[in-house]
Symmetry: C2
Subunit: 276 residues, 2 copies
């Protein structure tokens, strides 16, 4: 694979910074530039050699043949139109947004060579200070091309993720959002709600179970509020399913029905066992 | 601390086996015997030198001056009366049951030197094959003496846990159960309900968030059905609180209320940050 001449990362945070490190490590881009709203983030990204140069100004992306949006979905959708005046029509464009239906609809209108991506390598951590090489190694990256997508662009974006060590899979933006509602957004709802249920004076008794089940409640609240709203319909459906499952267990407890309760838990345990 | 002459572990599983290993490592007992319903468990416990000898018959505990019940709460309550005919009135007795109100009420009537314990070092794993030394190191062990408890017995049981590396804290059985309903039993409810909400064909997309939030749903279903029912009143109250917190988030999503949603998540995130 011939390296890109100039890669521009819009958002040099945890994911953007880690991807930049891999672009460099695997020789995928000759020059890497970064844009951030925070000078400090750019300085840190430069210090760890994730980017060659950085700017608060989008114009630094001028001449890029690879453009990667790595910011919250709503921020990407806001910024994207301005980038169309900065990069050429031949620029390969992707993003790492957490939901795909709205962003793909927006960005494929703006960029002829756009392919949506979502690397499932998130973390409750945020910021380039946590960025590291090979973050995506052995993780899954979902690509969401549509019928309108450029075949060569898809091939190139797929190669970037594969070179970074991710396993790639192609899904429609719609199916992506349905799946993510269940496997990522719903667990966050559960974690935030669960920790909210713990009285302050009981926090000191927290052991492994509570810590693990609520780890992702340490995630950025503004980012997650945006993610939840950007996948509102799917998420509301799945919250209802979760509520129903909690009610089933609650009823069995209320009725002292050990047999029914054991059955529900055994089925859940077996399902958990099928996650590798 | 003078070692016990003969320690009897009723239930040589993950917790019982690990405690036996510590009794030996820290010179707390000269002889250690074990009882299990399964010959295989006894053989394994002997193989790792957790116990000197084992039996399916409770009578092996004859002559013990330290008796440790390490089985599900309902099993302990069933077995305990038979042990009163096997050990003397001077035998120090404790248990590691997950809820304390019912077991303390039962066992303190039967054994004059009984003190309830609950080491917060559980795991979704079960069986002596997972037992290891120093399982309790740096963990918290809750002791639940009552006004009727023998002071010397309390001192001795506390010493056992401290020697094993646990930090001990004294709580009433009632407060113990209130706290555990929140910090242990409710997270299990959330985890079992959450994994039950995932369609089978989405399991292959599971990433870190779903894995962590549902790890404890891999726990033994029969054991947890018993735990839930043994702390029924407290648990039902806390399930209602969890349901309410989920509803608050759901409403904010339904109403597209980004400000309210961010507030709820930020408050939860901050609370999570207060867990060490």
């Amino acid at each position: 694979m011939k390296p890109f001449q100039k890669a521009a990362i819009i958002g040099t945070g945890f994911i953007g910074g880690s991807l930049a490190l891999d672009l460099r490590k695997y020789g995928l881009a000759k020059e890497i530039v970064g844009v951030s709203r925070h000078t400090k983030s750019l300085e840190r990204a430069k210090k760890i050699c994730a980017i060659d140069s950085g700017s608060l100004d989008l114009n630094i992306a001028n001449g890029a043949d690879l453009l990667i949006f790595s910011a919250p979905v709503n921020v990407i959708i806001d910024l994207a139109p301005r980038l169309t005046k900065i990069v050429s029509k031949n620029c390969i464009v992707t993003d790492v947004g957490s939901t795909k239906e709205s962003i793909v609809k927006s960005l494929e209108r703006l960029f002829p060579k756009y392919i949506g991506s979502h690397p499932l390598a998130g973390s409750e951590k945020r910021g380039v200070q946590y960025a590291h090489k090979d973050l995506f190694k052995n993780s899954l990256c979902i690509l969401t091309p549509t019928r309108k997508s450029d075949k060569r662009a898809l091939k190139l974006v797929e190669r970037i993720w594969k070179k970074s060590g991710a396993k790639t899979i192609l899904l429609t933006p719609q199916l992506h959002d349905e799946i993510l509602a269940v496997i990522s957004h719903l667990p966050h709802i559960a974690a935030f709600s669960l920790i909210a249920s713990v009285p302050d004076n009981f926090l000191k008794f927290a052991s492994g179970g509570l810590k693990d089940t609520t780890r992702i409640a340490g995630s950025d609240s503004e980012l997650w509020a945006q993610i939840f709203l950007s996948n509102r319909k799917n998420l509301l459906e799945n919250i209802a399913i979760l509520q129903n499952n909690i009610s089933l267990i609650k009823s069995a407890i209320k009725n002292n029905d050990i047999q029914r309760l054991s059955e529900i838990l055994e089925k859940a345990k077996n399902k958990r066992g099928r996650i590798r």
